[in-house]
């Protein structure tokens, strides 16, 4: 078992796709680095924290990107964002079986905040344009830094999300909420609270994550293969149905304060036990109870 959580973005790419199949575009030796970081006396990375390329997955061609959370929390700057946009546009030309995004990001990189914000907006538009042309985009989220900020929106624009319970998905990080609204609103040091609010299990129960897997690269791989045949659907019918689901979520859960209340409302017995379950047992325990 090889931990997805512990691996670097490069290690994930090499272990997740068919052996030896990964080929990188604009590799580190091209030194396409952020000029803005150097201006602020901050070390840059040769890949600007995101690796993009092509690979095969179970023999099928895919385009892939992996964000490196260890570099500035995987945050999006000008170059980082443009690499993702370029990859998504390439997919419109090439029509691979799917695009896989191994996300790990705190959102916009503050050192180049405006460029990062616009970059995220361009990624959003590029994902939507690509899906409109029928190429599915699958997100894998199980890294140490989670997926927050604009990348949290991007993830939810895609066709499917695979998470481990260690993975986190949200918009504003717990620290940001605590700093702005106080520890009573969100105690970011209460990690059990953090994980049951934004962690993989809650996202799976809400129906936001399509698969929940153990923290194991091969489990992510298997889940990704399974999702390759997802058909993007941005039709009025599909979005109307999604709208109804989201409306029902506010209605049913909008007044609840804690994930445990939501899980209980979903009919889970002993919701307090869910965090302790391994992925298989968890899936079995919540079978038929997801929103």
């Amino acid at each position: 078992m090889s931990s997805y959580y512990e691996a670097s973005a490069r290690e994930r790419l090499h272990a997740l796709f068919d052996r030896g199949s990964f080929h990188e575009f604009l590799p580190p030796s091209e030194r396409v680095v952020s000029p803005h970081l150097v201006q602020l006396d901050t070390p840059a990375a040769f890949d600007d924290g995101v690796i993009v390329g092509r690979a095969t997955l179970d023999g099928r061609p895919v385009l892939v990107a992996a964000q490196e959370g260890g570099f500035m929390g995987g945050a999006v700057g000008e170059v980082h964002g443009a690499k993702l946009v370029g990859l998504l546009e390439r997919a419109r030309d090439e029509k691979p079986a799917a695009v896989l995004l191994l996300v790990e990001s705190g959102g916009v990189r503050l050192h180049e905040a405006n460029a990062g914000l616009i970059g995220v907006s361009e990624i959003m538009r590029a994902v939507l344009a690509l899906r409109s042309e029928g190429v599915p985009v699958v997100v894998l989220d199980g890294g140490q830094f989670g997926c927050f900020g604009g990348m949290g929106i991007v993830a939810r624009l895609c066709d499917a999300i695979v998470m481990s319970e260690e993975g986190r998905l949200g918009l504003s990080g717990p620290e940001v909420i605590e700093t702005t609204c106080g520890v009573e609103e969100f105690d970011s040091r209460d990690r059990a609270l953090v994980w049951r609010t934004v962690g993989g299990k809650h996202r799976y129960l809400l129906g936001e994550a399509d698969a929940i897997v153990a923290d194991d690269i091969s489990a992510f791989r298997a889940a990704a293969i399974h999702l390759l045949d997802t058909k993007p659907d941005l039709s009025l019918e599909a979005l109307t149905a999604e709208h109804e689901r989201l409306g029902a979520r506010i209605e049913k859960f909008g007044a609840l304060r804690d994930a445990l209340d939501i899980w209980s409302a979903l009919g889970v017995e002993k919701p307090e036990n869910l965090p302790l379950l391994e992925a298989d047992a968890f899936r079995a325990a919540v079978d038929g109870k997801r929103a």
Partner: protein, 105 residues
């Protein structure tokens, strides 16, 4: 930040068609090492961008020992560092060489 450069001579040239290798991450207490073949007239050139100022002598000592272990020529090594300790630097350098020489030509 500080930029440091070092050159070493007297090593054995590396096959110029070898693929570059990158190890490590530019994160706190860590560094990335990019190693690639380069026409350098027999030199092994090391270029470092580090967030920690004033450790030139330490870098030199670490690299001297590295070059004693790995006599490379016509190789360029580029490092982005965020205050990694010498132990971590030496480890990443060794890993980079292993990836670089172990990988396909």
């Amino acid at each position: 930040m500080e930029k440091l450069t070092f050159e070493f001579f007297g090593g054995a040239p590396v096959n110029a068609t070898r693929a570059p290798a990158l190890v490590g991450v530019v994160g706190s207490g860590n560094l990335e090492v990019l190693i690639e073949p380069a026409e350098l007239g027999g030199a092994c050139a090391v270029e470092i961008l580090t967030a920690a100022r004033g450790f030139g002598a330490t870098w030199k000592a670490v690299l001297d020992d590295f070059f004693t272990r790995h006599k490379l020529a016509d190789v360029r090594i580029a490092i982005n560092d965020v205050g990694a300790t010498p132990a971590v630097v030496a480890l990443r350098l060794d890993q980079a060489v292993e990836d670089f020489l172990g990988g396909g030509a």
